[in-house]
């Protein structure tokens, strides 16, 4: 009997889900808990700390707002990229939108680079105070997730794109799952931004 795993790209009837769809949502749930641990640290370290806002005031709101716009834009381009595959079956159009997404991601990381180096230049490091510790760790871990997401999206643009020719339905679903991860990265930032920069 051959070992073909069922429901890889055909949803199971009673659950309505493919394995990957369920799997990626479970993974996202665990990521929510991961950032939850860090947000919990933020809350506990901030409570009754009168110096917190002084420490936080050195952050640049305009830069982070720009970064927020970048990530939100990258999310819509991911959706439009996926739509190109499912509605128009147009691989080139999908790739165009993915490149836009990657550019947004690169832009985000470039801004982050400038933010970090500016801090170091001013002698501010994670060890400087609890706010900087939380700031670097939270944005650092988020940044790693941005890089990871970009790697996956780039993979499906180029090396992984062969699957579009052999099994377009499966390929589209994989792109959808990668997109879900990317949206989570955006979602985390939506909470990170006000928490670190605005409150």
């Amino acid at each position: 009997m051959s070992v073909v795993i069922p429901h890889i790209y055909e949803p199971r009837q009673d659950t309505g889900l493919t394995n990957a769809k369920l799997g990626i949502w479970l993974f996202l749930a665990s990521e929510v808990m991961l950032f939850g641990g860090l947000f919990s640290a933020y809350v506990i370290l901030r409570i009754n700390n009168p110096l917190w806002q002084t420490w936080a005031s050195i952050l640049s709101v305009p830069l982070a707002t720009f970064n927020t716009f970048l990530l939100i834009t990258s999310s819509i381009t991911v959706v439009l990229g996926w739509a190109s595959l499912i509605l128009k079956k147009d691989f080139k159009r999908y790739r165009f939108y993915m490149i836009l997404t990657l550019l947004c991601g690169i832009g985000f990381m470039v801004v982050k680079y400038f933010e970090y180096t500016a801090k170091f230049h001013h002698g501010l490091f994670p060890s400087s105070n609890p706010f900087m510790a939380v700031y670097f760790t939270l944005t650092g871990l988020h940044g790693l997730h941005v890089l990871g997401g970009m790697a996956v999206l780039a993979y499906y643009c180029w090396p992984g794109s062969y699957l579009w020719k052999t099994n377009p339905v499966w390929f589209t679903q994989r792109v959808e799952c990668a997109g879900l991860f990317w949206h989570l990265v955006d979602l985390v930032w939506i909470f990170l931004f006000p928490t670190l920069y605005l409150m």
Partner: protein, 591 residues
């Protein structure tokens, strides 16, 4: 791929980097058993220090000095620093590299797809990565014994500030944990998707064997509870490597010198994040065991399980509640009375589903046609042993008695009862029960019974006196087993300690029990290795005349598991159905 195609793969892809859940299950099993033995050896050495503090350990002491260097074990004497490090690593290894890989990784991976009629796990490649992640984490933990300062020595709980300023071994521990956590996270996703999406035709949720339900709930615990510990490990790594003060309070002084850090951190933050995982983790340790016991009891009483539905609902409720009881490990951290009341209440509530499950298992014995083979002995032995463990947890979960019991030997006795003669007995039951499925041969039943009686006797010999010592107030993690309580010079008011000093002598009896327990594990090891080649062959694919789906597959199952597509026609434990031709009606048989 088909069995033929699979046979064409080179050896390293069939047996080393395999994606077949059965091979991975065996890899997890051998790894888990190895680390259980290793952790057991650490304990046997620790018990020498407890019974004969500051005295040279014959033979083994010299060997240790040769392996770890004379500095760690001068003249064969176990230094307090080494004892601490062995204590921390014993806990870490037993929990994360012994029990979980065996209970979840081995049994879960091998049995779950078979019991639901699947050809493999939903994500075979991720399954493989999850095993190798465990392997890398284990190697890191093993190597940590050899770094300057030795392995981690701040307890398996790694509380800061001590863990923040501890030697290099602690950093290795943190990196090791990251790999171990990743392994569990990947595995849990696999288990949940497999159980939901790959069930055979006719296998609805309430026809699932209890073992599958147990693994399913366990997977949710691992999925949602581990990540906060991962983030805490990242923060501790930041404290240790980047000089942050997540857990270091302001004004900390070490050896007379103020620490050159920013301060402003909170050690209790670590405790919250650690216990947020570690409490569900203890349910991860016990639930697969309960699942195994249910299978073995149903099979060996030739009766359906009593209260299957109640057991399933209890299991789910238990899993849910396990996320909101964690601070009962933290009653002594200065939390307010209202917070304390909340966690005491939830802790008392969570004892109810455990009692329901154990009671149902006990009632399942009533009126049964009981076969007392080796797996059944372990499964039945589990019931009173786990109950002692569970009952002794109750005063710990109430903050007033916990004032007295916290950090004493009582706690150690409590948790060892649930894990050692609790989970470990269940795992042994599972090994004796499913060895024929995995290998096509039986383990020797006679040797199994010897293994059981020896283990049962000496488990109680080691752990029961801990309650006595703990009640008398003996602190945990003392390298000398409390001998300094009797020191007339060190102790100012020996009257205060007059009760606890009477319990110091129990240490010798406990240590001897531990060493004798070790001898009986040799019986098991011999049995295991010998039976692989010389064990009695099974008479057919279903030697225990069991009802669940894994017994439809050949023993051992080929790549792809089943020779015909499994279809499920009835519930999981239809034993002794009135009017049926035989005393068991398998799920996979029509009519």
């Amino acid at each position: 791929m088909s069995e033929a195609h699979h046979a064409e793969l080179p050896f390293w892809r069939r047996y080393i980097f395999s994606t077949d859940h059965k091979v991975i299950g065996i890899q997890y099993g051998l790894t888990g058993l190895f680390w259980l033995l290793f952790g057991f050896c650490l304990m046997m050495i620790m018990r020498w220090s407890l019974a004969f503090p500051d005295q040279p350990l014959p033979v083994v002491g010299k060997l240790l000095g040769w392996i770890l260097g004379e500095g760690a074990v001068p003249g064969g004497v176990i230094l307090p620093e080494l004892y601490n490090s062995f204590g921390a690593m014993h806990g870490t290894i037993m929990v994360f590299m012994g029990v979980v890989p065996l209970a979840v990784g081995a049994f879960g991976n091998f049995i779950l797809p078979l019991q639901i009629g699947a050809v493999d796990m939903a994500f075979p490649k991720i399954n493989m990565v999850s095993y190798w992640s465990l392997f890398v984490g284990s190697v890191i933990m093993a190597l940590s014994f050899f770094v300057p300062g030795g392995a981690a020595s701040s307890g398996w709980t790694s509380y800061p500030p001590l863990s923040d300023i501890a030697t290099t071994g602690q950093t290795w521990w943190l990196f090791g944990m990251v790999f171990l956590i990743t392994s569990s996270l990947l595995g849990s996703i696999n288990f949940i998707v497999t159980t939901i999406n790959l069930r055979a035709k006719g296998l609805s949720f309430f026809r699932l064997p209890f073992f599958v339900w147990a693994q399913f709930v366990t997977a949710f615990l691992l999925l949602l509870a581990f990540p906060p510990l991962e983030s805490a490990a990242v923060m501790q790594l930041m404290d240790r490597l980047a000089g942050t003060s997540f857990f270091l309070p302001s004004g900390m002084v070490v050896s007379g010198e103020p620490l050159a850090v920013s301060g402003g951190g909170n050690p209790i933050l670590w405790q919250h994040l650690f216990w947020f995982l570690a409490h569900p983790e203890v349910y991860v340790l016990i639930l697969p065991g309960m699942g195994i016991v249910a299978e073995v009891i149903a099979n060996n009483t030739r009766k359906p399980l009593y209260g299957y539905r109640a057991m399933v609902y209890s299991l789910v409720f238990l899993g849910f509640m396990s996320f909101v009881v964690w601070a009962h490990h933290m009653f002594m951290t200065g939390m307010g009375t209202t917070m304390s009341a909340f966690f005491q209440t939830t802790t008392m509530i969570i004892s109810i589903p455990s009692v329901v499950i154990v009671t149902c298992l006990l009632l399942s014995l009533w009126g049964g046609s009981i076969r007392f083979n080796a797996p059944m002995l372990f499964a039945v032995g589990f019931l009173p042993m786990f109950s002692i463990g569970g009952l002794t947890g109750l005063p710990l979960g109430l903050s007033v008695p916990d004032l007295h019991f916290h950090d004493t030997l009582y706690v150690i006795g409590h948790f060892h009862y649930v894990v050692a003669p609790g989970t470990l007995f269940a795992l042994f039951a599972g090994i004796y029960y499913w060895f024929p499925k995995a290998t096509g041969r039986h383990l020797s039943d006679r040797l199994g019974k010897i293994h059981f009686w020896g283990s049962l006797t000496f488990m109680n010999g080691v752990f029961f006196p801990m309650f006595i010592q703990g009640l008398a107030g003996m602190n945990r993690r003392l390298y000398d087993g409390g001998a300094s309580y009797a020191d007339p010079v060190a102790v100012v008011d020996s009257g205060f300690y007059s009760h606890v000093v009477t319990t110091i002598d129990l240490n010798l009896m406990m240590s001897v029990s531990a060493w004798l327990m070790g001898i009986f594990q040799l019986v098991f090891i011999f049995n295991f290795i010998w039976s692989l080649k010389k064990g009695k062959r099974v008479k057919d694919d279903n030697p225990w005349n069991a009802t669940t789906l894994e017994w439809l597959a050949p023993s051992p199952p080929p790549h792809g598991n089943f020779t015909i597509e499994p279809v499920v026609y009835r519930e999981a434990y239809e034993y002794s159905v009135p009017g049926a031709g035989k005393d068991f009606s398998p799920q996979f048989e029509k009519g």
